[in-house]
Symmetry: C2
Subunit: 401 residues, 2 copies
């Protein structure tokens, strides 16, 4: 009698939650997770587990009984380590007080959205973009406004005009992700300058996702990281960063990230952290300290591997006339268009089932993404070669829709 149908139950939850589309990445993963022999290139994750010295630091924290509630903003030791790390890589002091530890980079993004915008507000997102910007925006009642990038002469570039014209009196922020997931393109410093100048004039926030900053492959091989808003912004203006330990140090499974924000927002951020997760495990933060303080060699090796793999993947895939892509300058994804592909999610499911390779569907990355597939290439090169061979065979056989 009291047993309700699925329709009854779904009918009484929040409508935006009921109607929210599934992330195509998760659809793919749930389709193929654990499938024997599958080569998973669907998420932004390498094949190496977290290095021992990081795991040991966390295990030591556990042994030392660091299992109690801790500082909502993060343990002081980690915030100081973040400060030193940023000073080293961005050649400017960023005090520990500007950092706020969060339960994942995803949680950092959500925290920033919760801080800046709510029902009826808008945030501009250049697309194709990771669906995990627009998802939490819609969840918070915020409208993500797509500003599709231009793909001209084989190059992706921000459409600055389109971004600026998309601003309304409801716009709270512009979200800039460079190096880009899924495209791998890097926004040049002059474009960052233009966005910052415009945002300053209009009193808008910039949400900077520079998670892949270290994964940067300039032609001259010089710089150790991509151009950053930290090269040009004041610490006390409307620029806020969401970041993660996941990528540099192979810590995807840990779910620890950070926000870098003006110190004046510390109280508000602390309240949001309190009501989101009430902090991050102190023993996990010990691992993060180890990553920052002893993890340079590992991070550099990850970047070198990614760069080599980029060359491998691009060379191999350029043999297929039906594929089209820009050689990525950063991150560790290849985002490639497939001639005749109109439903990337269907294709991804078929590639899992028929070729035993896990990719992500371009359509899930928003406007401009349909017709593309995303491949994460931070993997063992032998696996990548095998995956490309399987994919090549599948492409030759498949009739795409």
């Amino acid at each position: 009698m009291t047993h309700l149908t699925a329709d009854d139950l779904l009918g009484s939850i929040k409508d935006t939650q009921r109607n929210e589309p599934d992330s195509g990445i998760i659809v793919a993963v749930n389709r193929g997770f654990g499938k024997p022999g599958l080569i998973p290139l669907w998420t932004g994750e390498g094949h190496l587990p977290t290095p021992d010295f990081i795991c040991k630091a966390a295990a030591e924290g556990l042994r030392n009984g660091e299992t109690f509630y801790t500082w909502q903003r993060g343990i002081p030791r980690l915030r100081e380590a973040l400060s030193r790390y940023h000073e080293k890589h961005f050649s400017r002091p960023v005090p520990a007080d500007n950092f706020f530890v969060t339960g994942s980079g995803m949680q950092a993004i959500q925290t920033v959205i919760q801080l800046l915008a709510g029902q009826g507000d808008e945030i501009i997102v250049p697309t194709p973009a990771w669906p995990n910007y627009s998802g939490p925006m819609r969840m918070a009642g915020v409208t993500p406004v797509a500003a599709p990038m231009r793909f001209e002469n084989g190059h992706w570039r921000l459409d600055l005009q389109r971004i600026f014209e998309s601003v309304t009196d409801r716009t709270k922020a512009i979200c800039i992700n460079s190096p880009s997931n899924p495209i791998g393109c890097v926004v040049p410093l002059e474009d960052l300058q233009d966005v910052l100048g415009f945002a300053r004039k209009r009193g808008l926030w910039i949400i900077a996702d520079e998670v892949y900053s270290r994964f940067y492959y300039p032609d001259n091989g010089q710089l150790s990281r991509a151009p950053s808003f930290l090269d040009i912004c004041d610490l006390d203006e409307r620029v806020i960063f969401a970041n993660t330990f996941s990528k540099n140090w192979a810590m995807t499974g840990w779910r620890v990230g950070w926000v870098q924000a003006p110190v004046a927002l510390g109280g508000a951020l602390e309240r949001i952290i309190q009501y989101n997760t009430s902090g991050t495990a102190a023993f996990m933060q010990r691992g993060c300290v180890a990553a920052l303080e002893q993890g340079e060699a590992f991070a550099d090796a990850q970047v070198r591997q990614a760069r080599e793999n980029r060359d491998l993947v691009c060379e191999a895939l350029s043999a297929f006339p039906q594929l089209r892509f820009e050689v990525p300058k950063g991150a560790f994804y290849l985002f490639f268009a497939v001639e005749g592909l109109s439903n990337s999610l269907d294709a991804v499911v078929r590639i899992i089932d028929e070729a035993n390779v896990g990719l992500a569907p371009g359509g899930t990355f928003g406007e401009g993404g349909e017709g593309f597939l995303r491949m994460c290439y931070l993997r063992d090169p032998a696996q990548l070669k095998e995956a490309i061979e399987r994919l090549g065979n599948w492409l030759s056989d498949a009739r795409l829709t």
Copy 2:
């Protein structure tokens, strides 16, 4: 030039975030965290670190390289362990598919709010209540509607009439926390029945926080846990549970919890988890499996200690004529009124500074809470005695305002 003032910056974040009050618990903790010799009874946390067998299971997960992305709903092993745990304690099968692992009990509550309600909606919260219900509601644009409990003849009780009369056409849910934080009262089964009957008639959700279920001290010493909605509800109706590993197994610092919900909501919950935290570390979940499968003796010992401490604290504090409280039947808090106390936050700050004891201010628990202080008594008995002595001296000296 581009440096903005704190007012400028705060002026351009979301107004509800700017105006959200600080949790009085966090104000207290930030005042006294790390103060030498302070006895911390401010948060809901015992003095024991997480037991070794749990830490070791997590450390083993780390050693085994369980550091990759994992199932958004939680690892199957943990969801199955939750199923068995519930069957044991609630004498009914609750399938693994009904469980969703979250990054803390706090995150479980937020997830449930995000699932059920949004801007303009209302959720009814009997008060005094943990401020971490109303905080995340306001953050989501939801209005928490206080339904103050009755404190009559020395007993706290839900005011069912008040709850039912508070329902409007914007009401989405009624939030029931039993055993109660901060009061320690336990809602009798007939009241749970009445709430459920009413909610069924009106198509409302019940959000059940039964985190302290095991911490139950009936006069006859019979039952192993408090009356629960699981005693009376269907698994497929509008009842949803938020829970945590924190209390039973001394895992406050871990930040792992779970939602129990109708299976039909699995897709929606998975999307919310994806956009909140993208899952919980698999190696942490190994520790949680150990807690469920090997943690009965520890949990029982925690409950026994809490019950003894309850008696100790109540006896000691009943010697002070200016204090008034109900002997709690559950949880591990004493919520006591202090004669002449009009500003509990001020008092808590003074007690930290002057008596070196950390308490939580009653005012932060909402309507009906001002004038009270909350003491967590899940501590070493010697520490509790020392804290009560300090508090007694302070009460004799202090002029309260």
